[in-house]
Amino acid sequence: MTILVIAEHDNIALKAITLNTVAAAQKLGGEVHVLVAGYRAGAVAATVANIAGVAKTLLADAPQLCEGLAENIEATVLSIARQYTHIVLPATTYGKNIAPRLAAKLDVAQISDITAIIRTDIFERPIYAGNAIATVQSVDSIKVITIRGTAFNPVSADGGSTPIQVIKAAAAVPSVSFVSRNLRKLNRPELTSARVIVSGGRGLGSKKNYAHMLGPLADKLGAALGASRAAVEEGYAPNDYQIGQSGKIVAPQLYIAIGISGAIQHVAGMKDSKVIVAINKDPEAPIFDVADYGLVGDLFMLIPELVNALHVYQKK
């Protein structure tokens, strides 16, 4: 049994989720290889070679792999795919974009967003926005899997010393080309790996309120900012802040839901948080069903009070 992990990176740095993906791969119990497909990504391969428990680091380095286009990554992985029993990717927009293409080319089912490994061929995955957990068995010879990062604790980024083997990149697929990228600058922790998340919903009422109420609280807690779909649709927060079935899945130590009613689609994205705090003026809001600590009241009074209380507490 040999397992291939496809590393997510931006040619400069390895994305942290790769460490969770390697952790899931190790749980399968075979030899783990990690592929870095990119352009001028030697430094990323060097980082991967340091990961504890990786048996081999593969590097495919070519201009057509620069932007992580699914067509080109798929073609390159396909050339080595049949040497593996499992191919594992993170269930991020990167992994979700590539994995099904690979599976279809190999004529195997793909298993999406797994949260547990029962056996090398049996996995758990949430369905219906996390309202049910399906245990599924793959009958295919190669299992192409995406893993939910929050369900697997990351492996250590160092302690390993693996040889780097260069493999050939497949020729560029001519029917698609990269035009541009518009990335949001982060001055806060990254949402999916943040220890604390402060998240706002429609109850905030405006973009200005979102910033003025949540910003200081997030600063105090060193937290990432999140949002419900309603808040994103109202334009209070950017799209990539969205937490839920159609946004990001998070599981921080502390999740503070402010002015969020708790629709099933939102809860699907945060209910595995260790501690959930809800602040909402409606005592009947469904968010209180999943909150460990619920506070009924006006967020415009309570949030500044909370910021103050944290200030006093942190000074102690």
Partner: protein, 249 residues
Amino acid sequence: MKVLVSVKRVVDHNVQVRVKSDGTGVDIKNVKMSMNPFDEIAVEEAVRLKESGMTREIVVVSAGVLACQETLRTALAIGADRAILIETQEELQPLAVAKLLNVLITRERPQLVILGKQAIDDDSNQTGQMLAALAGWSQATFASKVTVEAGFATVTREVDDGTETLLLKLPAVVTTDLRLNEPRYITLPNIIKAKKKPLERVTPQTLGVKVEPRLKTLKVAEPHKRSMGIKIPDISTLVEKLRSEAKVL
């Protein structure tokens, strides 16, 4: 240009599903079914392309039981021109649907196939990518903006930390994200008109596709329940609880 859109009949997104006590699945008897929300966005986008003169015909496809006809009629009422039902009682998984659609696109020769990014029942997020791979086409998943011009599509995609834009040579596959558009309400006259639009019925057998499931569902269970939380009276109690009880501060 012809556009093909695939739509799925799923449990309505407002329904809180219940897991069956025997662990075989979720109980969807007597539950409201609707078009998958991402597929509504896909149909809307196709109709907008037609309204802007970029598309001549919109063919909408659904695979599943006979009742999927209702979903197709909804798509016709939004503005699709004709419908194809691939009728089967079998459980259809993404790979099977992708193969069925792949056969249809060799027959229909659309320049663009639009699908939802995922269905809200199985939450797989696979079919569009699989279809693109099988057809040997390029793909733009999680689309939030699509423009079509002179045999090319420019698509802006939602990615984890922002957006990116790709240029695809047609034919291609696009899957829709929430931000792509706001689907229109269906009007009564359009519902009536939709009843007269053609709806063809085929089967996986007539398309020559084997659809048996490749993933066996062994069990479906309730998710781990969170222990009952408490309501607390004020901020100082909250801070105290987070500190001493939850130990997260």
